[in-house]
Symmetry: C2
Subunit: 491 residues, 2 copies
Amino acid sequence: MKKSTIDNAETAMDEQEKNGLAPDQPDSLEERGSSIPNSQEEENRLASEFVRQIVSLIEEGDNQAVYDMVAPLHPADIAELFAQAPVEIRRPLAAAITDLMSGEVISEMNEWVREDLLKSLTGQEVANIIAQLDLDDAVVIVSELDAQKQQETLQALSSEDRAAIERALSFPLESAGRMMQRNLVAVHENMSVGDVIHYLRQNDDLTTDFWEVFVVDPSHRPIGTCKLSKLLRMPRHALIQDIMQPEQTLIPVTMDQEEVALRFQKYGLISAAVVDESGRLVGMITVDDIIHIIRDEADEDILKLSGAGDGDINEPVLDSYKSRVRWLITNLGTALVASTIIGFFEGTIARMVELATLMPIVAGVGGNAGSQTMAVTVRALATNQLTASNCVRSITRELRIALLNGLTVACVLGAGTWLVFHNVLLTEVIALAIMSNIIIGGLAGVLVPLTFDRAGSDPAVASSIFVTMTTDAMGFLTFLGLATVSGLTGA
Amino acid sequence: MKKSTIDNAETAMDEQEKNGLAPDQPDSLEERGSSIPNSQEEENRLASEFVRQIVSLIEEGDNQAVYDMVAPLHPADIAELFAQAPVEIRRPLAAAITDLMSGEVISEMNEWVREDLLKSLTGQEVANIIAQLDLDDAVVIVSELDAQKQQETLQALSSEDRAAIERALSFPLESAGRMMQRNLVAVHENMSVGDVIHYLRQNDDLTTDFWEVFVVDPSHRPIGTCKLSKLLRMPRHALIQDIMQPEQTLIPVTMDQEEVALRFQKYGLISAAVVDESGRLVGMITVDDIIHIIRDEADEDILKLSGAGDGDINEPVLDSYKSRVRWLITNLGTALVASTIIGFFEGTIARMVELATLMPIVAGVGGNAGSQTMAVTVRALATNQLTASNCVRSITRELRIALLNGLTVACVLGAGTWLVFHNVLLTEVIALAIMSNIIIGGLAGVLVPLTFDRAGSDPAVASSIFVTMTTDAMGFLTFLGLATVSGLTGA
């Protein structure tokens, strides 16, 4: 390995003993290492028994008992408690534990749960919560408020906080400017390690959530970074310019959050400097904000592919209905295309009604082959793995897989058809039809998302409608068409 | 906001000027802030023109030119270059830039690309690469090797490295024990800030990738943590026990990586201590390893839902074929269920062949409604949002959405059917059928994944087969069944 894998902790302990600081062993410490409270099940969830108890205590009006149970929880667990509790319990719960409702609890909360809770508060009350938050969390919450509450809240904030939030809101939705912290540590390259430590010790109001310091030139442009671990390692007299890492990944303030997340992933960043158009350092993004985005963006792709909109289980029923029904109606439209094609062959079906029994198999399996390819393609596009350099190669690859899949499925389905119907021509027709539909599905699964991506649209949104329409329509067309022209139905 | 949002960088600069360290302004520094090399397009991708140049230089055998172009790249970009380059170019490319093939390049590489490259190396050569890596990355690579190459590689390693890797490999696949670093900084609570800084400065072989120090008791159990930013802020004489944060999230060494990732997300962790069965500190997991897991786990769900297996665009064709064809054959089996149901109604269809034209609409739209609900449910389960506490509520919620969707789509489809066929009974039959199938889809979409989850299986793997089978079968059954019993076809 790069460095010794000996457990360095032991070294630290040994050294300390050498220094004569004999360790003492208070028994009571034994328990302190364990931090998973009883309120939790093993898998990071609040125990449902715990939630039930809270709910029944709220119903009994025993707010003090509720407070005592909730007080030891981590803010993230309190936030989760609200999501787990039934809707009608949430406001009384918030009232019972008012002074535990810290900014952290609010910002960790599921957005729909939070939106509902904040509706019951005045602009002044929301402003009091906002005032405890980091800028990026504050911006998220303010942007979720309706226009009037947003105005009230902004008015109730200090002019400094208001200006910071309004500036952040002026950046595009989901851009780096909305996610960044303005509270960061920037130093000059001529400072020594000792100067920096002195500066950090003297300034109590600096953030504690930073993992590297940014080195800037006199016009405030980033010229390097220095990890805190490095700062701690170097002698006090060392100059920052000699120990800083001069290359760094800069984030333009208008960059989309998905691109920011990809950059963090690719370069393994812990934090990164955000710069404005003229290259000046205006903020910092840290990895903890990125984690939520990576999950959200991947979730978005799953949900978009299935047309489920925002798809959160806490979303109000009417919102879910609106986004889903739009998709179902669109789907109805594309189903009509397939239906129309079947309509052309009503005569053929009337002569051999078994075709109606078999045709959904051809369409369905082709659709599945298309969905497989599409899922792979959409994710490869989203993670920048599929680019102009390897796009032809990817299409060829999918075609080869589709050929193999098509041959295999055609053999299986053909054998089955022959065993049931003892009709050679029908066997040939269905085998040929399913093979070509699997190939069509494979091609559509890669070409449709690629085309949307090239055209600048999100391939996750509309691809599956087009792919399914293609495999349905072509499945019915090839199967019923081949049945007609082959003379299978004797027409 | 929690702390002043004034840009603290300015404060640092001002203070420095007060200290008399006048900033100088070398012009050449202006360029140093910009770190996006020409080799990149705006969106974190290698420019395809750059890749093309490399490929043609390799083909011409101009290795020196290739080396000069690749040398300035970040290791993550070199790794990406291999994925973008055609397969036959990859080994000559590796040969042309041998001494740029650092451990970091190898560990950043797409696993399929890496596997192919490592095949051409001897165990000794792989061992030389492994020796440069952090333990967690080394473990990943060793576990990917085939049995024989794995043995050769382990033999060629130093006994210390071999022991560390073998110990990690003894933990279950995808567990915390496989992901953890053993190289961490642990200190005793009686040490002062000055002691810790002294210890860090004296020990050159410590890792630089750490963001907090772990505080342990004499039997090496974690009792607290201290962020480096806090360490830098506190006076030298402060004792660690007074400034450490006593609560912390401990990761059991056998915990599944998905649970580890959820814990990092929920509690916003940068690093966490890994403990063995007896609660002793045995390793550390850092957030940069978690980011990959979060993305991979979400990607896995998308790909599993569509039956696309591992689904990477770099996976060998035969591997993709094997995982996908298994799914298609399974799908063929479930399609037979639907087909059999249609078979029962051949008489009905023969009497009114339009039914064959309309029936795929009922099945398809119901299937879509099921997929929407399923995607929401699978993600809510994966992110621990859907638990015993809110499961009944979620089912009710989906039922209400399904009712609204069903009513709306039934009206639209009914109106369309009436306009085309002017047949009141047919209109009633199709409207009733699609409404009930959308409700069935909505229920199946939440109940199927919930059942798999309760039974301890991964709901993403098999849910979509069962949901589609249900909506197909029930769609045909309700539509053709209603058509038969209503007397629509005059039977």
